[in-house]
Symmetry: C2
Subunit: 328 residues, 2 copies
């Protein structure tokens, strides 16, 4: 059995109350007693039990993170940033890989509840609003609308795609395709398609939408992309994420299309990973670190004061165009 308060108390020749006081720096204690207790703790390598502690109503300093996957560099970088910030503040994270699995997400929600997490940062949403609402836990959401009283953080999806379209137009494109999810679900990311359609109207070009779902397999995406390139001959493609943009580049190469001469491509996300290992790709960069900072800040606010009204429901962070070879 692990070392506990009683052991330390016995070793130091004081009561458990005193030891608890020393640890939590409560009330008045003589330096002599403090010293005795500290040395006893060191000697026994004592580590307080968080569980027993939070049984008393203390915070677990534990945050649940729900994301669809961590192998996608965007999520990996976002999660890593969130983890770093939370660690600084003394919080640990339970990582939940919801994939596209309603049941898994539901199971994880239960687990987080059972583990008395202090709050949840949600980035995957296979589930409906209600299930999140009835948790009765502080939640913040990334890029998805969950409920009226859950604050949303997202980048400026509209402005992002607008920048992308303008970049392609300025680079001389005439037949610009939108490659991404077609279904609108009331989420901030819907703004991407909306921006594309609006700009098509403003800039007077015919919109073409090639639909690939985030959840499609790479193989399926490749086939869709191949057909688009071969049959429709776009000279510009706006992709709603960088990975899909890379697939377009690969398929283009296979078809003997020269980038950027025959075809220009622009992505979305702007992760360090892709910028380092595919530096040729033009993209719209999301401010990943700022998103992480804001998500954490809002969550900790809600944890410390759950009933305070939200100033804002939806926080939109600015994006940045990173121009590179694929739209040169």
């Amino acid at each position: 059995m692990a070392v506990k308060l009683t052991d330390v108390a016995q070793k130091a020749g004081v009561s458990v109350t005193t030891v608890s006081r020393v640890i939590n720096n409560h009330g008045y204690l003589s330096d002599k007693t403090k010293h005795k207790v500290f040395t006893a703790m060191k000697e026994l390598n004592y580590q307080p039990n968080s569980l027993a502690r939070s049984l008393q109503g203390k915070k677990m300093k534990l945050i649940g993170l729900i994301f669809p996957e961590i192998t996608n560099p965007f999520f990996a970088e976002l999660i890593q940033d969130i983890e770093n910030i939370l660690f600084e503040k003394g919080y640990k994270i339970i990582l939940c890989n919801a994939q596209r699995d309603k049941e898994k997400e539901r199971a994880y929600l239960k687990m987080l509840l059972a583990n008395q997490v202090d709050g949840i940062i949600a980035g995957a949403h296979n589930l409906g609003i209600e299930e999140y609402q009835e948790l009765g836990l502080p939640i913040v959401s990334f890029d998805r609308k969950l409920s009226e009283n859950v604050p949303i953080v997202s980048c400026d999806n509209y402005q992002g795609i607008k920048l992308a379209v303008h970049d392609l137009i300025q680079s001389g494109c005439h037949k610009i395709f939108f490659l991404g999810n077609k279904q609108l679900k009331g989420n901030p990311t819907d703004q991407r398609l909306k921006a594309y359609l609006n700009e098509a109207e403003n800039l007077n070009f015919t919109p073409h939408i090639c639909s690939v779902a985030f959840s499609d397999s790479t193989l399926l995406k490749n086939i869709t992309i191949h057909e688009m390139l071969q049959n429709d001959h776009p000279d510009g493609v706006v992709c709603t994420d960088d990975l899909t943009a890379i697939l377009v580049l690969q398929e283009a190469r296979k078809l003997g299309l020269k980038v950027p001469e025959d075809l220009k491509v622009i992505g979305f996300d702007g992760t360090k990973q892709i910028q380092t290992y595919h530096s040729e790709l033009s993209t719209i960069a999301q401010p990943i670190n700022d998103i992480a900072i804001l998500l954490v800040k809002l969550l900790l606010q809600r944890i410390s004061d759950p009933n305070k009204e939200l100033n804002k429901k939806h926080y939109i962070l600015p994006v940045k165009l990173i121009k590179s070879l694929t739209t040169a």
Copy 2:
């Protein structure tokens, strides 16, 4: 306050014991009672408190994962696989990003202890053996030697580099460089350099080692690679990870070197990510999923039977050559 056992008991008109029995399916209960309890649970949306449960001696069903980073696709995929397998078995994970930070790793170790995790899968090791040993917790290690009684899982690092060298030789290389960590620390990954040196002797070529540390910045790596390519004119490079291999390809392109005509490159890891988005790269693939399966299996064994002697200390899993364009 959250719903607790007493609330359910009251609602169902039975004692807490009965409710507890229903939940854990213990002893004999009348169907009528069961039914009453179940409906009460549903109505109150009751969720047992893991903390109180494990205070009382039950397992937390929580595993700590310590890795240096999650943005590296190799770790991301390994962690994702581990997470999936553990989830199936009813375990949750606390993710610890140790980076290259001794203090952070130490702090995390304490936290894991405080949170009563059932065990640890360790893949980052800035710390010495002792600190892991005195935890008194079931541990398994990936690719690093921690302690005599901590089982290690790793791929066949020796065979991997041997395959890589042979592939380059067969592709006609004469001046083959080893690009990776030069320092030997008694870990399984040391076998990579050893294999290179041995094969140089066996196959009768002069070994050239270009040293880059895993922790070097991309910029620094690029400079080192650039100098190697420009000054030493290798015609083949064995890299100890895929990401570094991609950097070599990029620097080669900048220098106008044609791959594979002027220069052949082979990587190590073989993640799905790199294979999908850099399918041109030849590499040595680690069996990531098998590693995950084995790590979990060994850990759960040690959790259920901590004192059982290890059959083996070091489990070595086979690697596979994936031949592609960069060594064509």
